[in-house]
């Protein structure tokens, strides 16, 4: 579904750090939302996380660079990385161009049930995005 001009697919879950996750059984694919990439601006570098790395929900696990800013990305789930998207290291703008497709970050084997995530259709999520849009003037 769309919230204003930003796309938020219905089959994903979202956190308050502008990340998304697609959960299929015990596996999760994670990335940055359309709104998140708009906030970041043109992403020029991405640091691909190592396969095997343990993630803890809410803690930084990789970095991006845009506008001479190096920002840390917080994990939306806890688990172990089983596959990392190396393409984003070669061409980081794919995160801008296709945040829910080719711009995914990693696939993760879940070790704990993620908490506090929202669906795009949740009223709470719409409120959160409205507040973020007002905050950032987006």
């Amino acid at each position: 579904m769309k919230i204003d001009k930003y796309e938020f697919p219905d089959d994903l879950l979202y956190d308050r750090e502008h990340n998304w996750v697609r959960i299929e059984g015990n596996m999760a694919t994670i990335g940055m939302t359309d709104f998140g990439q708009k906030l970041a601006g043109e992403i020029v570098y991405a640091e691909v996380p190592r396969v095997g790395r343990e993630l803890k929900q809410g803690e930084p696990f990789m970095s991006l660079e845009s506008g001479k800013w190096v920002g840390r990305i917080k994990a939306i789930v806890s688990g172990k990385i089983v596959e990392a998207n190396e393409e984003i290291e070669w061409e980081a703008t794919v995160i801008n161009n296709d945040p829910y497709g080719a711009g995914w970050f990693a696939r993760v084997e879940l070790t704990a049930e993620p908490t506090g995530l929202m669906k795009a259709s949740d009223p709470e999520f719409a409120e959160f995005i409205a507040a973020e849009r007002a905050r950032y003037g987006k």
């Binding site: 906030l39 660079e65 001479k68 800013w69 190096v70 840390r72 905050r135 950032y136």
Partner: protein
């Protein structure tokens, strides 16, 4: 907030101290200069690709990788560094990176203006005076802290800056040198003299106090901070840290300031290798020079083609080159206008 007026520190401390403060859970504004020159590369850069490491070794110029973005820079005591470390929940922090730069860069901008230099903010992170960059800035998140680092440039060693960069050839180096001269200014260039150093530090501190509120001045590095910086040194001053893998890139690009870049790209067309050194200004080709081992008849028209591309956007280049080929009866076996476009922009 604390203002750490540290004056001249070792080159190592000019980087380690601001990396250490957020790790101690402390905010602060550091004002300091490095005691000796060094080269500093961006977090994601590849040291081998960006810097002439052999030359730096020969000349005793250390190279450091910072946790802040941006490109390779030559730093020395003629630059006055400001380093702001601020907690993400601090109410002074505006939302969004552009607002962050715009807000806090008011301090150095106002310092320049107080000196009579007409500085202004240029998105995302530059300060411009009379059309030239006069301050370099970068930012990062370290833990729960946002970091802004930048400088007032009293004087700049243009020659040394281009010497320490790794470039594909001397032509490219000359282009970078000239573009730097044209697009980077200094206090000395703008005023014709350099004001006393203490006057500049006082000005910078006063202008930051206008943005941050009252600042409590400290002039020394306390034991906990020293210990954290020393701990970081054990990692960040190693070759392993310097040479951590950067993203491999095709060609070479040096960003002079926002909107101004010198690039070199190569493409192996069926008819031979085409190499282009291009100066881009605000998305438009400002200058271009082709070389390589392809055939181009009549040969003297190659310079005319270069001239015809000035002022053209890369996306318009194929049409311009095709028209040029038709208008001048150009023959270049195995090299098409589309092949030239691949090395532009």
């Amino acid at each position: 907030m604390k203002l750490y007026r540290l004056g001249t520190v070792s080159w190592q401390d000019s980087q380690l101290l601001y990396h250490a403060l957020p790790r101690l859970g402390r905010e602060g504004l550091n004002l300091l200069s490095p005691g000796s020159p060094y080269v500093c590369i961006g977090y994601f850069q590849d040291a081998e690709q960006e810097v002439d490491l052999d030359l730096c070794r020969q000349q005793g110029i250390p190279v450091f990788r910072r946790e802040v973005g941006g490109g390779a820079v030559y730093l020395d005591g003629e630059q006055l560094f400001y380093q702001l470390i601020i907690h993400r929940d601090n109410p002074l922090l505006p939302a969004g990176w552009e607002a962050f730069y715009r807000h806090f860069l008011q301090a150095p901008i106002n310092a320049y203006r107080a000196l009579g230099i007409p500085a202004e903010y240029r998105p995302v992170n530059d300060i411009i005076a009379n059309g030239r960059k006069i301050s370099g800035n970068g930012a990062a998140e370290i833990g729960d802290y946002y970091i802004l680092v930048g400088n007032l440039i009293v004087d700049f060693d243009y020659e040394r800056m281009v010497r320490v960069l790794r470039v594909p050839d001397e032509k490219f180096r000359d282009k970078v040198y000239k573009t730097l001269q044209d697009n980077l200014s200094t206090i000395r260039r703008e005023l014709g003299f350099a004001p006393p150093r203490e006057e500049l530090w006082d000005l910078l501190a006063a202008k930051f106090a206008e943005v941050l509120g009252p600042l409590e001045v400290e002039t020394t590095v306390d034991a906990a901070w020293r210990a954290q910086a020393d701990t970081l040194a054990a990692t960040m001053l190693t070759d392993e840290w310097l040479h951590r893998r950067g993203r491999p890139r095709e060609g070479r690009a040096v960003t002079i300031r926002a909107g101004v870049q010198v690039l070199q790209k190569m493409y192996k067309a069926p008819g031979g290798l085409i190499r282009a050194t291009v100066e881009m200004q605000e998305g438009v080709i400002a200058a271009v020079s082709f070389s390589g081992d392809f055939f181009f008849y009549p040969a003297h028209r190659l310079a005319d083609l270069e001239a015809a591309l000035v002022g053209v956007r890369p996306e318009e280049a194929e049409e311009v080159i095709t028209r040029f080929y038709a208008g001048h009866g150009i023959q270049s076996p195995g090299v098409t206008p589309a092949d030239f476009v691949r090395v532009l922009g």
